[in-house]
Every structure is written in structure tokens, then in C-alpha cells.
């Protein structure tokens, strides 16, 4: 890559990246008690004595609480993608911002869901916006279940040729063609290598 297009972007502090806040305080675990119970044969043997736990699990898994896919999760998936020209992640460069991610998911596994992401290029004539968008698309294609439709848009008023880029990013044919290009794919591989 020749001279960087935007040599001096403003950078977000790493601590300031939005993260999933720890839900409440962890309950005080009675570690001592658990340890004692763990070695009481009566305590552990009794429920098991009714033969092998004969696939009781269906009831168990129903009790499992569901974590819905939300915008923070999407953010965590894509915020650590590296920018193609800076040694920084898209999150740090504020190309991706939490409020610009919308998830429409009913939670029903049989109906379509959608993710809409609006990216903010670091400067209005950033020619790498399409590459960044493609990187995000590849990442999400790999990480989201197939029922999700992924829409990637340039945030309104942040790019000179907003419409063109939007069209290019959401054109199935063109995305598929791009993914056939080995060289492009290896650039994207590098961008995704920093994902956590």
C-alpha cells in the first residue's frame, strides 16, 4: 500500500471501547460448602442412584437461559478487525460504533433475522471503505447463523460516494466474486487475524 490516505486518524482509547458490562455482582459463592458437598457420597450418590441419568437432559436444556444475539455481540465480533492501513482495529478508529449496529432478531430459529451495520469511514474519500465493508461481511458470514441477513451501509453523510459503496457492499454477485479473488481474500484474512 502506498501512502496512507488518512495518516493521522483520531483514535479511541482502548478502555473506552464499549464492552458488555458485567451483569450485577456475582453471588457470593459458598465455595467451602460446595467443596464439602462434593465429597459427601450420600449427597452426590442419591440423585444418581436412580440408574444412569437416562437422557433427562431435554428438560435440563430447556431450563437454559437464552442469551439473545444483540448489537454488543455483533460489535465484539467485528470491532477487532484490523484496519487495512493502520495497525489499529476498526473499533479503536471508531469506524464501527455500537449505536450504529441494529439487530432485528425474533429469536425464532425458523424466521429470518437481520443485522444492519453503518460504518463511518475515517475520512469522506476513503477508498478502502469497500474493503472494510467486505471484511466485516466475511467476518459476519462466518460467525452468524445463516438465518441472518447482513446489511452493511455507509453512515449517512460520511462518504463522498455513499450510494455506490452501499450498492457494491450489498450486491451478492459482487461480494461472491470478490471472495473468489485469492489476493483479496488473503488481505481479508490478515484483517481478521486480530479478531478476539
Amino acid at each position: 500500500m502506498s501512502d496512507p490516505i488518512n495518516a493521522n486518524p483520531s483514535i479511541l482509547d482502548e478502555n473506552a471501547m464499549p464492552t458488555r458490562a458485567i451483569k450485577g455482582k456475582a453471588p457470593v459463592v459458598d465455595r467451602n460448602i460446595q467443596e464439602l458437598f462434593a465429597f459427601s457420597l450420600l449427597h452426590t450418590a442419591e440423585p444418581a442412584s436412580g440408574n444412569v441419568p437416562a437422557l433427562v437432559s431435554d428438560t435440563e436444556s430447556e431450563q437454559e437461559e437464552e442469551d439473545p444475539i444483540d448489537s454488543q455481540e455483533i460489535y465484539d465480533l467485528i470491532a477487532h478487525i484490523s484496519d487495512p492501513e493502520h495497525p489499529l482495529s476498526l473499533g479503536l478508529l471508531s469506524v464501527i460504533n455500537l449505536p450504529d449496529i441494529q439487530v432485528h432478531d425474533s429469536g425464532d430459529r425458523n424466521s429470518m433475522s437481520e443485522v444492519v451495520i453503518r460504518i463511518t469511514p475515517t475520512i469522506t474519500h476513503c477508498s478502502l471503505a469497500t474493503l472494510i465493508g467486505l471484511g466485516i461481511r466475511v467476518r459476519l458470514d462466518r460467525c452468524l447463523p445463516p438465518r441472518f441477513r447482513i446489511t452493511i451501509l455507509i453512515k449517512e453523510g460520511t462518504h463522498q460516494s455513499e450510494n455506490q459503496v452501499n450498492k457494491q457492499l450489498n450486491d451478492k454477485e459482487r461480494v461472491a466474486a470478490a471472495c473468489e479473488n485469492d489476493q483479496l481474500l488473503s488481505v481479508i484474512s490478515q484483517m481478521l487475524a486480530t479478531c478476539k
Binding site: 459427601s40 437422557l55 431435554d58 438465518r147
Partner: protein, 1019 residues
Amino acid sequence: MSATTETLINQYLVFTDTNEQEATLVVARLADQVALKQLTLLQFIQTAGDYLTRDDDAIRSRAILCLSQMLQTLAARDATIFSKQDVSVLVDFYLSKFDDLVSHKATLLGLSCLVDFTRFASTNVAKILQTLEKEYAPKKNLAPVRYLAFDILARLLAKFGSFIARNLSAEFATTFLHVASGEKDPRNLIASFTLQEVIGAKLGITDEETNNELFDVAFCYFPISFTPPKGDPYKITSEQLKTALRGALSSNTAYAKDAFPNLIEKLTTTNAKVKLDILDTLLQCIQAYTPEAVQLFWLSLWNALKFELLHNELSMFSAEGVATDDDETRVYVRMFEIFRAMAVKLRQCLESGLQPYLTTLIEELLPNIEPEHKLFKASMLILTNVAEASPEAFNYIVEKVFVRLFEDVNDLNVPKQRNLIANMGFFLNAYANLVNALNAGEFESDFASNALLSHKDNILALLSKTLMSSSSREATLRIATIHQLVKLTSLPRFLILEETSFILQFFNEVIIADDAAQTCSAIIDGYVAISRDQHKVQLLLDTSFPVLMSLLPDSDETMSPAKSAAEILAILVKMSTNRQVLEMLCVRLLNKLEQAIDSSSSYAYLTLIVDSIAEAVFTSELESPFLTDEWLKNLVPQVNALVIRLSQSGRLPSDECYVNLLESVGKLLNLIYKYVSVEKHQQLLDELLQFGFQTPSADIALFKWSLAAIDKTALMPNSTAFAEQLIVLAHASDELTRVNYLQTLAIVVNKFTDSGFLTPLFAMLTSGVAATETREGIQSLEIIAWITKGLVLKNDKAADPFLCYILTLLETPYGVVGSRCLEIVICDLELFAKPKKLISRVVPVNTRLLYKQKFFESVVPQLVEKFGSAQEIATKKCYLIAISLLLKYVSREIILPHLTTFLPLLLQSISLIPDNEIRCASLTTISLTTNELPELVTQHLQTLVPALLDLSEAKNGNSEKVRLEALRCLLLLPNAVALTKIVPFRNSVLRRLEVAVDDKKRAVRKAACDARQAFYEIS
């Protein structure tokens, strides 16, 4: 006599070249004869004379070599044997042989040995030098022969150094130039460079022409790029060559006018290794040459080096240290060192050496000293490194820089503030380094009123203002500020105590109000650093300790809003690295505990306080161990009193939380007792046994932990009866208390009983186990398991019948219980943990080093075999559960050799047995195998991959943990297994993981994404 000599010489002529060992023996015998005066030199020459002058090249050169080697042996044995005359004759003999090319090796060897003889006269030196220069042709000889010529010169210089320096320096230099020019062999080059280093340093050659030639003969090799050839017998490294050449080049100031320009010219290289070599050489030259030489060249060096520094980000340097250690970083570090070395050297100049240098630096760099300037960091780094050189440099630079830094410090935006503060740290480091390098006298005379001190108020004001007025969201700025404040407190002879106390007060305010974890942890690190300073710890106790303590609520209903009690306790614990602080903490926390009990706080809060005390004691014992004998008098009774107070406070003692609290108190007591000196342990045990054992009581937890800390040599009277009583009490009590009694029993069996009483007990217990599973049966088995644990720990043979019995259980209806018994036997419990050597010399548990290995090696093969032969699924399952449970507790070194047998079993177990705990255990072992023995896993990919995929889906009762473990296992495969083996699975894995990326649990989805990404990258 001479007949034997002749035989020996003949033998030598035959053996040399063919049988070196034999030849050496012959030489030794000849030397013997000479040494014992049985053979004179003359006789030898007469006998060998014919050979020495023979026309046949081979015979003649061998004969001379024989003489030379004999001389070599003699020189080592008795260097005084020859008279001055003898030596001179021999020297002349050898010198006359230089026209004989084939004998050069022998001739040079002979000469170099002759130098070592005591009576070798200085008159010979000139002759040898002359002949070497005129008649020896280095290019016609092989490398080992040429080495001998260097050797002669080195020996001459070592023996007649001052004589040569006075009379023959020019001749010596000429001869050396003749011998050294065109040399290529690495070993000879090292000899040559070493020699030249002495020539440059000792001979005082002033002739410009000669010095030019000397410089050239060495510099033509610079920079050395040398890769040692394979099988080099001398093991010469590139580093040795470089060091030797550096020594040669820096040996004489007269080389300066050639060295500096030439080295600077070479700096254009782009190879970091070469650049480093050049800089190292420059540095050494600056340090070795006279100040006047450096005075001539500092400007060109400065101009040559500054750009590279100014035009780089230097992101690896921060006030906290250097982040990386690669060649690039070293290049920069070396440049800074060069600037510093020049400042050191120029200071030694007779007149005005340093000032022009400093003035130039300031003139060029001062304009960059602005927080937003691109060259700010680089300029600061250069200036601080030069400032570190001497008090004069420091004062001058600090004066100039700080005046500019503080010019408009009041209206800086956040990035500027951050830049300013982070880079100011370099000066604080320079101050610390400089003060540490000065001795007390120098400090008083040169540095007591230094420039940084006069800016102290400014620095403090800037930092404190930044810390107190910045928003808590500016974490990096605040952290940088805190780091600098902490550094200020650590600077030698800088702050007065009141100022440190102010800083602590700022810290207190921030830590109470700020909830950014990293900011707080920076402050805690600051507290810890101050607590380690003997002079300042009192300040900490006076200012910070009470503030934090007052934030702890008396009862958990009145929590302070900003920080939870747990967080404050964690801070206090971290501060208690110092014993003084620790004891203060213990007293205060116990008082707090008392208040909390009286205000009926929850058990959780009480437990938290007790755990914090234990944690503090533990970490501070870890840091610097001390004895707790004193604590028996005050602290321990106070703890016991609190427990009694608690039991009288009218709460439900059967509450699980109460037991939990008692366990915590027990652990605290255990910790304290372990550090009571071993002599007091018998008395401690006697006192413990006063505890009432008539009725079952939850208080057994305290007794259990205390007993577990008692030294194993203490004696327990009536231990057998006591053990039996424990069994009775265990039967009669509720579930948690029962386990406590059983663990106490295990401790007693482990430390205090002899195994005699076990046999009848065994019979009694096993008879209580009925054919079908009953409560009584399980209770008996529990007792057996815990007794076995006590025995297995000390590798006692008495454990064998118990173990056999447990193993046979696996095929009975008690199978599952039996496998859990095995778990009890092998599990790691804090109660039986063997601490590293304690300062009290207490050994609280009777355990053998390799008991686990022994247990594992004897039990596991049986289990594996029986698993194979078992018919029923249920039985198979029991064995498998047993194996998985054992694996949980055994370290990987022990498992590793068994993995080959295990893996098939584990593969069966994850698909066969729908038990999540077993699946997790098996998956952990499979992960381990994948990392340690990928080849083994490769053989089983056909079964493993589908099994893992099955487990990654939320069906068949796979718990979240199982799904996670399975996905982690999958994630490992692409990197562990050969590409060709894993590629066939790529598409099926990618497709089937679509289910896992839609899992209900977020953590599972994340793991699935990672695994999928890893498989996508395979191609």
C-alpha cells in the same frame, strides 16, 4: 644412550602423521631424557643431525618438528633448563630454516616455544621480527601454520611488552602488518585483532603512516558478517570476531580520525544487525579514545545519528521501560548510549568540552519540546539520555527543558496533557538513574540543589491538578499521571514526607470516587510500592489506611455507594505486603468483624472479612515469611472469642452459611498455626484436644483445620480411640458435619495413628455394606474412602486391602459410589496440601512426594484392563467414570505416557456415556492430547471430529460447558494436526458448526465462531 635416542627419533619419523598418540609418547620420552640430563641438546642435534639436513622434504621437516615438539614439551615442564646460549643457538638455527618452506610449521612452532624459556634473551626479539618480516611468507602457508606466526608475536609482546614499546615498536608494527595482511581464517583473525588491540594500546606508536596502515589492516574486515562453518573445531562465533575487531579498532586514539568518518559512512546500511555492530563499535571507540578525539568528532556523530531517532515513532520506549528487545530497539538504545557516552567523555576535556555539545543539542531540540510536536518524544528521549550523563548535563538540560515545558501548561487539551506527562517520566527516570550512580559525596557537592528540585512544585502541581480535575473516563491520562506520581515518591532524595502524604491523599480521593478498574489498580500498585518502603509505610498507615477502613460498613446494610466492601477489602489486602501493615489490618478487621456480628450482618459479609484476613496473611507470608508465635497470645484468642460470640448471638447454627463461615475461620486458624514455630506444636495439639467430642457439633470445622496445621511429629495420646470416636460421631451427624468428621478422621489416620487398629475396623466396616445399595452401606464406604486417603498420602501398605476393596466395588451395585470413593482418595484438598518449606519448620501433612504417581500407576492399568473385559455397559461406565475422575486430579506429566492407551477409551466415553461431568473430563484430556501428542490424535480424526461436532450441539443433554469444551478442542485441531489430514474435514466442520453459531449461549457462539474461523483459514 644415543642409540636409544636414535631409535626414538626413528620411531617419531615413522609415527608422526600416522599415529599421533604414539608420536606424542616418543616426544615425551625424548623430553624426559633431556630433562633428566641424560641427553644434552648437542647430543640430540648430533643424533638427529643427519635427518635435519636430509634432502628429502618429508624426513627433514619431520625431524625439525620432532625438535620443536620436544621443546614444546620441555617448555611446559621446566622452562629454565636451557642456558641463554642454548636458546640463542636454537633461535639462530630456526631463523636459518626460513628458506625451507616445508618446515615452516616446525620452525614457527619451535620459535614460539623458545620464547617461553626463561633465558630467552631480549636480544633475540629484533632478530626474530626481522626474519619474520623478510623471510616468512604468510600467503604460502596454511591457516594453522599462519596461526603460529601470530602466536610468536603474541608471546613476544606478552613477555617483552615494555622492551618492545621502548626500542622496537616500529619494527614490531611492520612485522605485524606483514604477518597480518591478507589473513582470512577466523581463528587467525581473532589472534590478529587481539594482538592489534595490545599494539594499539601498549606500544605507543605515533607514526601516522604506520597507524594508518594498522587501522586499515583491521578496518578492511568491518563490518564482519560471518556464519560459523559446520564442524568448526574452534567454535568461533561471529560475536567473538566482532568483539575482537571492536577491541582492535578502539585500541588507539590515533585511529579516531579514520575510525569515526569511516564508521559514520557505513551507517547508511539498512541491515539492523550491521547497524548495531557499527553503533557498538562507535560506542566502544567513544569510551576508549581520549576526550580530545571525541571533541573533534561529536558534531559529525550527532548529525549522523539524530535523524534516525527524530524520524521514528520510538513507540517501544515509555517511561515504564522498553517494551521490546529486538535489533531495531537495540539500535535506538545504542544511539542513546552514544549520545550519553559523548557527554560523559566531553566532560573530561580540559576546557569547554561539554558546553558546546549541550548548547547544540538544546538549540536544535528545544523547539520540539511542545506536547503536540511530532518530534517531542524523540527529543525528550535524547535529552534525558544525555542528561543522565552527569550532574552538569542534567542541570543544564532540565533547566532549559522544564522552563519550556511549563510555559503554557494551563490550557492543554487531554492528548497534550497525556503526552506531556508520559514523556516527563523520562526525566524522572534520568534523575533516579543519575542519583543512583552518584555516591553520597558527589551528590552533596554536585547535585544536592539540582534543577529538577527547583521544578518540584511545578511538577507536583501539574500532576495533582491533572489527576484531580480530569474526567474519570480519561483512564490512560489518569493512569499515566498516577504512574508519575508513584515514581515521584520513589525518587531518591526528592520528595519530603509531607509531599508524599499529599500524593496519598489524592490517591485516596481517586480510589473512592473512580470506578475505572485500571485506574484503581494503578493506585493500588502505588500503595503497594509505598508500603514496601520502610520510611514511608507509616505515612500509608496514617493517611490511606483509616480512609479505606472507614469506608467498610459496620453492617452490610449500610454499604458505601462508590465501592463495595469486597473491593475495599481487596485493596486493603493488597496493601498488606508489609508486616507492620498486616498486623494493623488484622486488628482493625477483627474489630470490624465484632461490630458486624453485633449489628447482625449477613454471614456473607462476615465470611468476606474473615477470608480477607486470611488472604492478607497468606500473601504477606508468601512475600516475606515470619513466625506467628506472638499471634497465639492475642489474635487467636480474639478469633475464638468472636466465634463464641457468634454462636451466642442466637443464629441458626445448622445454617449452611454458618458452616461456610466456620470453614473460613478454620482456614484462617490453619494458616496461623502453620507459621507457629514447630517447638510449640505439641502444646498446641494438647490444647486442641480439650475440644468437646461428646456430641456432634458444627464447630468440628475449626478443630479440623487446626488439626490439619499441626506438625506431623506431634504425638496424640489414645489416637486409636479418638479415631473410633470420630467414626461414631460421623454416623450421628448431619451431612456437612459428617464430612467434616470424616476429614478429621483422615487427618488423624494420616498423622497420628499406627495402622494396627485398621484390620478389625476394616472387617467391621465391610460387613456393614449390604449386597444392595443402602444408606448405611454408603456411610461405611465413605469411612473407608477417607481412611484410605489418609493412608495413601503416606504410601502406607495398610492402604492395599482398602484399595482392593474399593476397586472390587466397581463391579457391584455400588459401582458409581466406588468410583467416587476413588476420587476421594486421590483428590487434592487444601486440607492436605503440602506447603513448601515453612519458616516454622512445620510439616503439617504426612505425604510422600510421588504418592500420586504410585497410586496412578498401580490403579489405572487395572481400571483400563477391566474396562476392556467388562461385559455390561453399566460396569464399563463405572470404570470409565473412575478413570475420568482420576484424570481430573493428576498432572499432565503423569498422564502423558498413558495417553496412547487412554485416547480410544476417551473417544468411547464421550459418545457412549451421556454424563456431562465425564464428558468434560474426557474432553480436557483430549485437548491435552491434541497439544502434546498431535500425531496420536491424527490417527483418530475419523471418530474424533464427528464426536466433537455432536457434542458441540445443544442436544443429548450436552451442557454449556461440554459444548464449550468440545468447540475448544475443535479449535485446536487445525493448528495441531498436519494440514493434509485436516483438510478433508474442513467443509463438514464448517457446515455443522452452523448449529453451534446459533447456540442459545453467547459463550458457546463465541467459541463456535473461533473454531469456524480457524477452519476457514485452512487452505
